[in-house]
Symmetry: C2
Subunit: 396 residues, 2 copies
């Protein structure tokens, strides 16, 4: 039987990262490829107690729930976001199945085929995938250390009349960059001037390494109802719960809730109730401090080893938070080909190409440091350097 | 700020049932409106233990998981479906966030704007909502006690060239009907003849009242890879988990998994692992027997009270399973208007109109009997009969 799929199916791509993950999970490979948090830090005892309370305290918690999400969780989030300067009532918050679903529902209610989205280049590839699954065109904006380059952004706004600017301004994926406050304000001013909505994706905001200040989320600077802000519990509690949220102008959140009702009625509410118990009974901030300290230590281990690589043209930016190193190798090295060699040596990373919107740089790659203990990072980097040495000979 | 939504937003409708539920949850109203299982039957102790095991046995269970779902759960489902004659490998099964998401993902990969879906009239309104959210046209097929009328189905297949036939053949929502084996076979033959895919929605299949046989699922009769079959744990365990599944031709399931990856990466895997423990440690069949017996008793209470209503033209079909009575009142009564009176008297139901694809019958309504104890059913029916009496005078 030949099946007649929808036209949109041609825009669906499997995620390169997840496809690689599938393969490498099968062997004895040290993986710097995924974006996985450290399992050993999962607060299993607290999570277990929270689920116990969620299941046994109130039978209503096991019944069908409201599409918008569990009110107490939304209230806690409203309060927590307020501490970061984002002033939103709980009614402006929709609980989603991870922040991935927030990106999808937003796309569903906002984009028609042919609509244009502006994004930093490179950027989070699974967001690109979702945008493109709706037949949109994503156009890359030049960026420097401080964020999108304002002149290029304005040029592209006027040329492309985009429906949305997608931003990951804090510990971005894949580059680990933090956009400056000045740049955040300038981007908002342009968005206001041209009436463009900003979608701020902030999965890593809690994972900062230094005690120094990080600029506030763009949503906290928004006075005109232009910014939608999404984040997740996947990096601070556990990913398997699939609990994220999105906050923004009520008019958009309301329509997204209607789309969500059609999509899956509501997000798993046992997990939502468990989170309510967890944030009440457990010191989540202390837990986040432990995560930060652990990831910071691992980042330094990887940085030290990267510094010791003897290869001209190898560059990276030291991440101030988040989960990744973004590495540039000398021109002429194609990291997709390099990956095949690396896997043979027992180490994996993600080639940079899929993160690019356009002007793909084949000599880039992303390495995760959060999911491997220091000794494993050392062994993995030893293997990685060996592969680099081999390739240096090839191109040298 | 005026936001530019996508064209498809105009097809999004809020569910009439859920909107009513929101209102009636606020007052002292006996509700026969929702499709809620009885909370008192939730196996909270077993669910709690299952979650405890899921959270504490294996940290990997708390990590990001595979889009297709937890393998052990898919294997258990493959085995369970096999007992009903549906032969599918676990690789032909995708775990979804409730069967609602199965309907949505299927629609996403199959339908383009203007595509036609044939459905019994009336049928499950939330499926209609999803189909229409993709800009499709749903065309109603005539049906009698045994299911879709074959001559009308063939006429409409040749006229409309539908992409899909949507069926709820076992304890259908809203009518509680069971389609005969003969009719199931004839529908399959037509689907084969014209190469049309069948989407079989079976949330209530486990909830049968008599010990007598119910015809097997249409998916079990399918030899040509034409039937997709979806069901859920919402009615047999708890709805708050949002765990459903869809089984069908691998080619379609694989593309749906790609769409799911973009949508929400994967379904809550703590709940999936908890279900694996639950089905191993807990006698789910005995539990289902308890649910059946309880619902059967409640159905009989409501039936007895319906039989005693003194109103010419009131008709219903005794449900052989499931959760609902579908009631026809004398022509001239508009149940949407009647609902307003009913809510004043402290009882609620769902007007039949939203379940209709076309040829809407305003004098119909759906009543749920599973979520109210017998004494509450009696009081609710007393109020309902009072409202009917008032309206009899009005139209008499």
């Amino acid at each position: 039987m030949k099946y007649g799929f929808s036209e949109k199916v041609k825009y669906l791509k499997s995620s390169a990262v997840r496809d690689i993950l599938k393969v490498i999970n099968q062997g004895n490979i040290i993986s710097f490829a995924g974006g996985l948090p450290e399992e050993k830090l999962f607060p299993t005892e607290a999570v277990s107690q929270a689920f116990h309370k969620a299941v046994t305290t109130n039978r209503k918690a096991l019944q069908y729930g409201e599409t918008e999400g569990v009110t107490e969780l939304r209230q806690w989030l409203a309060n927590r976001m307020s501490n970061k300067g984002i002033e939103r009532s709980f009614e402006d918050i929709l609980i989603t199945s991870g922040s991935q679903q927030a990106i999808d529902l937003f796309s569903r209610v906002m984009f028609d085929q042919g609509d244009v989205i502006l994004a930093e280049n490179p950027t989070y590839l699974a967001a690109l995938q979702v945008f493109e699954s709706y037949g949109t065109k994503v156009v890359g904006v030049d960026s420097d250390e401080d964020g999108m380059v304002i002149s290029d952004l304005e040029k592209k706004i006027t040329k492309w009349k985009p429906k949305c600017i997608y931003v990951v301004p804090t510990f971005s994926n894949p580059t680990g960059k933090v956009w400056s406050l000045e740049r955040r304000k300038q981007i908002l001013q342009l968005a206001e001037k041209y009436h463009v909505v900003i979608f701020e994706d902030d999965p890593y905001g809690e994972l900062k390494f230094s005690s120094g200040d990080v600029p506030p989320p763009m949503a906290s600077l928004d006075k005109k109802g232009l910014v939608l802000y999404t984040s997740t519990f996947s990096k601070t509690v556990v990913p398997a719960m699939r609990i994220g949220w999105i906050a923004g102008p009520h008019q958009i959140i309301r329509i997204m809730a209607q789309a969500k009702q059609a999509t899956d009625l509501h997000t798993n509410s046992i997990s939502q109730h468990a989170l309510v118990h967890l944030v009440n009974d457990f010191d989540i901030d202390e837990h986040i401090e432990t995560i930060r300290a652990t990831y910071y230590e691992r980042m330094l281990v990887m940085k030290d080893l990267l510094d010791r690589v003897d290869m001209d043209g190898l560059e990276y930016l030291e991440p101030k938070g988040g989960m990744f190193f973004w590495v540039k190798l000398p021109e002429g090295i194609n990291t997709e080909i390099l990956l095949a060699d690396a896997v043979k040596e027992g180490v994996a990373f993600v080639p940079g190409a899929p993160f690019y919107v356009d002007n793909v740089k084949q000599n880039t790659l992303r390495m995760n440091f959060t999911n491997s203990e220091p000794a494993i990072i050392e062994e993995g980097m030893r293997r990685f350097v060996k592969v680099l040495e081999q390739n240096k000979t090839t191109i040298g």
